[in-house]
Symmetry: C2
Subunit: 197 residues, 2 copies
């Protein structure tokens, strides 16, 4: 049985990563999408273990002390992390794993697991990303500008990533992500072991 | 316009590389399959520029002196080489290029062009390769054994290749080759230049 691989998906707010990831998951039930742990309280409708693993601050710090996270970070007073356990279990079952995390988290994971594959989902252009962010209609121009500025910064930081997928159409982006996952299972380390000598 | 990339396909005699390459070429007319140059005389039905570029020994040596080959070698008194000109022309037109060459040639090309992608087409097992070689019915057991021994040697030499495609079924091998070509066009060097700043 082939071993699972971990793919990190990063990209700026508004690029349409959620749609692309949802399509990918729908097309391949064997894919495991990593559920983050957080200390923020659940919102109405959010289920433990589905949307997040909801932890107390004490539990979260315990998990850090036990090296239970592949990466973790803090945003506006709440903590977020990627639990190692579920990722490792899925990979041991031969399932590929998707991590939808921030670029700083991607760097943490890469240091712990040099064999992860890092994919950056990019907009066709910054003008297009601005249109998409404004089109959402949920944010004022101040927030749109700050998200764009952050996106451009992360774009430069992502130059060491393995792949860039441009989300001009969802179909094409999904096709490219699938191709990347297929190709990464054709690496000699994995394949040479499969051929009897 | 995207720039073409060069993909080297190696693999042991009998693995079915010809079938896989033919299917790949039929499915994508933009692919350029590199035609080798040789000093051996044309066989009945062989056309210059289609099956080979037929050169005299003097011309071949002239081309070497002018650094016109990406790689060249000698087999049983005849010389064979991959002309640089047609490869470069196709890539400049945005076409991907396939080189079906020996593993020593692949090493020569890699030294000259570090950005080539090297793919090894492997049999599912050595027993299966033996069956395929015997099944051809064109060679005596002595030749089959020598081809198998050479295949095993090359297999070890191919451990530095970028990808291994196992030809268990032609459909799957072709799908993997296509995925590799798609993925290799998602590299940051190529993609970052496409996104306006």
């Amino acid at each position: 049985m082939r071993k699972g691989k971990t793919f990190i998906i990063c990209g700026p707010s508004g690029v349409g990563k959620g749609t692309v990831v949802a399509r990918l998951l729908a097309s391949d039930p064997s894919l495991y999408f990593s559920v983050s742990a957080t200390t923020r309280p659940p919102r109405p409708g959010e289920e433990d273990g589905v949307h997040y693993h909801f932890l107390s601050m004490e539990q979260f710090e315990q998990w850090i002390a036990e090296d239970q996270f592949l990466e973790h970070a803090q945003f506006v007073g709440n903590r977020y992390g990627t639990p190692r356990l579920y990722v490792d279990r899925a990979m041991a079952q031969g399932r590929d794993v998707l991590l939808d995390i921030e670029i700083q988290g991607a760097e943490q994971v890469k240091r712990k697991r040099p064999d992860v594959v890092r994919i950056y989902v990019a907009p066709p252009s910054w003008a297009e990303l601005e249109r998409r962010l404004i089109g959402r209609g949920t944010e004022d121009m101040e927030k749109v500008r700050s998200r764009l500025a952050r996106g451009r910064e992360e774009f430069s930081a992502a130059k060491d990533f393995d792949y860039f997928v441009i989300n001009d159409t969802v179909d094409r982006a999904v096709e490219e992500l699938r191709a990347i996952m297929t190709a990464e299972h054709c690496r000699p380390e994995e394949r040479m072991a499969l051929i009897d000598r």
